[in-house]
Symmetry: C2
Subunit: 210 residues, 2 copies
Amino acid sequence: VKLYNMGLAVNPRRVRMFLAEKKLQVEMIEINIPKGENLTPEFLAINPRGVVPTLVLDDGAVLDESVAICRYIESLHPDPNLMGTSPLETAQIESWQRHMEFDGLSSVALAFRNMVPFFATRSAPGNVPSLGQMAELVERGKLLTQHWLANLETRLSESAFVAGNRFTIADITAFTTIDFAKAIKQFVTDAQPNLQRWYAEIAARPSAKA
Amino acid sequence: VKLYNMGLAVNPRRVRMFLAEKKLQVEMIEINIPKGENLTPEFLAINPRGVVPTLVLDDGAVLDESVAICRYIESLHPDPNLMGTSPLETAQIESWQRHMEFDGLSSVALAFRNMVPFFATRSAPGNVPSLGQMAELVERGKLLTQHWLANLETRLSESAFVAGNRFTIADITAFTTIDFAKAIKQFVTDAQPNLQRWYAEIAARPSAKA
């Protein structure tokens, strides 16, 4: 098994953190996205969409999407459970996980891709038509990120973890997104004590270093 | 069980089509999003994010996200299978389903929300800060939709269905997105025979009318 990875990118980090929670190690191959290594003919032959993480199994089967990779790992290595046990809990965790993606991660990514110089002609990720950057989308991304953090503060005032009373994949998405948000200068504030309490707890887990 | 629904919206339609494939019927309550019924205090008390579909179970538990609702239904009503059986197949179907969302549905929605008059101050969906429309995002959404359709034509030249050799949730997402794309004047063309073959097959299923 090989994981095409980028050390600094948020989506591969989600998978690395998921693997670390399961105490699993896999061979990693670094793909430098700012340098365009995700768009070489060699990498596009593995993943035509030109994104990481991409997991290649020993028989050559390819899984090219973060959450799908996590679900595959969860099936083969069910302990500790990170994606739910009963039908209802599994659906609720998926729901929260997706809210963290759509409300949080996609907002941070919108600002980031429209801001950093090395994506000047690649503001949409992967193997898609060239798109320039728009300053207004940086502002939109930041505004939506702040809105997401405010909602998450409310959630964590009622719940120990994002999806309920235990650590799940939804915490991984939220935590890695908050670290990603530092790149667009959006931070958890002193007025968000529940986010701070939760963030400190997750940051103390060994998987946070993965 | 009650499904908060909007007849003309793509995300509730995904769930309705999924239910129809399982031959299940649930009570539906119509929420008119253009009229703002998703942002009333009554609806926000059920779903604070202000979006549909939202499924409320008989014990009051709420599932507020399309794919999470589908996964819950799949767990309780496993036949016909729409989300995979083995760990690898389940992950591959999820991967394709998510590609249809991120590459297709989100592109169409980007154009649509920035185009139609009733979203003039609500170009981001749900209970979020007011955002105006940007003409350039209509063009971006259309361009990315065309790119997605071209990639899907290639995929369907190699595969009977989106995720492989049988009908799955990935086909539901792709099919409903292609219908949604008509609202932004993007269509499958005569130069895309595999898309046309596949679209006609899916359109002939009784669930396509759900």
